[in-house]
Symmetry: C3
């Protein structure tokens, strides 16, 4: 597929149909803060969610899941063990998996774990600019979970990280950037309210895993996931008073967003 | 009590009053995904919630709680130990308890634990059709947390499981089935949006524990819990745009649902 | 500052501006039930949230965080270790920290831990009346997480506890009481719906940590936090049908509440 904005927009519409038709089952090993919102985002979208996150279950499940998310937000000891077990199984069974290196670079337990996981070649690495810079092994990792580095600064690092892993890297920000090291696509959708709901970024990683399950073109599925997600955010924001109503409206919008919305609103470049 | 639809509807109305008057304190050892929604459902209903889920506290608390929920959704090591401790204390103190065998049958850590817990004779076992079949020791346990088997297929298994435990078994689905092995009651309320909010089934287990605290007729209290819950879901669905607004409206409806709603809408047979 | 209602109201308005201008980063080691709501409350208010709650990360992070919350709601083993590590670092680095002694006095693991933490001199202790009485080392600790003792009974205990720790104690209830052992301030705002949403009290502890980060007057910042929080609750309640819509409206109100609302509605005495 020639990666023109038009082609990627068309692909996004058909990939969304595929997700809704097949309800890919996404295993999430994610943090305690966002686990509920992440499951609800997957269900709203039309995917299935299973938070199988303990040792001895995480590996077997990763063999049969449609996709896997590994998020480093609150990496308790059992979770860390489950992550490594799940990733080994996912790689063996060719289950696509997403790494979200939350706060890697700034905290001492998750940072070496994040590098280990990165070197296990996630299908997709998704983070904010600071996290992507840190995941490459440089930069500060940001101030906790916020992005202190800019997307422009992170873009060349993302390309290098994509080249290093041989896969896809996605930077979330006011403009989302998705790259496979060769092509770099920008998606200028979304709303600042997404940053005012915890899990606004984390749940996108799970959605990327759902889309990765329906097609092997990782760059295109990742662009599709980010586009559907951020277009839904725009639809929700237009009806919301603040972050509380936005969170509910966003789940409604993930369930309702359709090809017409995407063709009208997607700002892929 | 003769278990006619009319009598069970009347009982449901009076049991709901009892729950609101006495605010039974339900201890929940449940999964990280739904723990917040479960507590909010109990509070909305008028019950009290206490998520006492660590070893050395779970047992003593189960002696004084009004009811106990044990849900196998994300069974970390400490939770598993707390479950066994709480159940032993609940059985000793005659605290009614509900087992929700999430994904038992398909995952290797929780499956033997689920059988152990089943053999400790829960007051109520609640699950979807696949989980009930698996809890009996047959079937696939479903695809993760979704039901792949049908309610019709599960009903005879539920009756057998009720006979085996000597207690009550509830199957959640488009039509809910509650049986004590002798009588089998069907409740044709609810809305598909309940399956689009994570915890839509899990929180019902907690509500069943709350109702079990106010009367010893386990079949009748379980029918009452399922009826109140699914009638509230119908009320909420009629005002909702999608799963996000539904989750909020459902909590509002659990707080507001009353005897008039139940008499008008309950589809007990 | 002379602690007149007028001065404290003015201070509340300026402290809210400070929180929104500086977005203090609040580390939360809190329970699994309310962790999502707590993060969302901090984000809605304009603060930042980081739930860094594992050993070896909790301590280093507490040195750089703007404030720390330690909440005993579901104290798993790793959390307990992380709490002690974080508090030692916070005390060393002079990071203000809030202790929420959930159900201390009634449960055997958290009670000695609560006393240990109390003796490490938290900047603020926040709880319901029963918890404050129990934190002092007397009383029942309440029935699980509900308050069975009254605010009036707890007030002299709170003053004694403030004298014992040399810091500030806040009792949440129909009227909130904040004392440093010398001055005692009452805030008669809020709404009963706050008690129908799990985390309604717990998230206030995190908000107190955020306000503590912007000024050293602990009594005044604690009054400011309680006032902003409970005025937002009143604003939200006036638009809500029940606890589900209230939770969303409350987050919206935390984001929108301003000096005009506070001057008009604050009932500080």
């Amino acid at each position: 597929m020639l990666r023109t904005p038009k082609n990627l927009t068309d692909f996004t519409c058909s990939a969304l149909d595929e997700v809704r038709d097949h309800a890919p089952l996404v295993q999430c090993i994610t943090n305690s803060v966002v686990v509920n919102f992440t499951a609800n985002a997957l269900l709203a979208l039309g995917a299935s969610a299973a938070m199988v996150d303990i040792p001895d279950e995480a590996g077997p499940f990763a063999r049969v899941a449609s996709g896997l998310l590994v998020n480093l937000g609150t990496p308790a000891a059992e979770s860390r063990e489950a992550m490594l077990e799940a990733v080994a199984a996912a790689n063996d069974a060719k289950t696509p998996w997403v790494l979200d290196p939350v706060a890697v670079g700034s905290l001492p337990v998750r940072t070496p774990l994040g590098y280990t996981l990165r070197d296990l070649r996630p299908s997709i690495v998704r983070g904010n600019a600071s996290e992507i810079i840190a995941a490459m092994g440089s930069g500060s990792g940001g101030r906790g979970v916020d992005a202190s580095d800019g997307v422009d600064e992170a873009e060349p690092v993302a390309r290098a990280l994509a080249a290093k892993t041989g896969r896809v890297v996605a930077i979330s920000g006011p403009v989302d950037v998705v790259t496979d090291g060769r092509d770099t696509i920008r998606i200028a959708n979304g709303d600042a309210l997404l940053t005012k709901v915890t899990g606004g970024g984390c749940a996108l990683g799970a959605v990327m895993a759902a889309f990765a399950a329906v097609d092997d073109d990782r760059l295109a599925t990742t662009v599709a996931a980010a586009t559907v997600y951020t277009v839904a955010a725009e639809l929700a924001a237009s009806r919301s008073v603040g972050p509380g109503s936005f969170a509910a409206n966003f789940l409604d919008a993930l369930a309702a967003v359709d090809a017409d919305d995407i063709r009208r609103m997607a700002a892929i470049a």
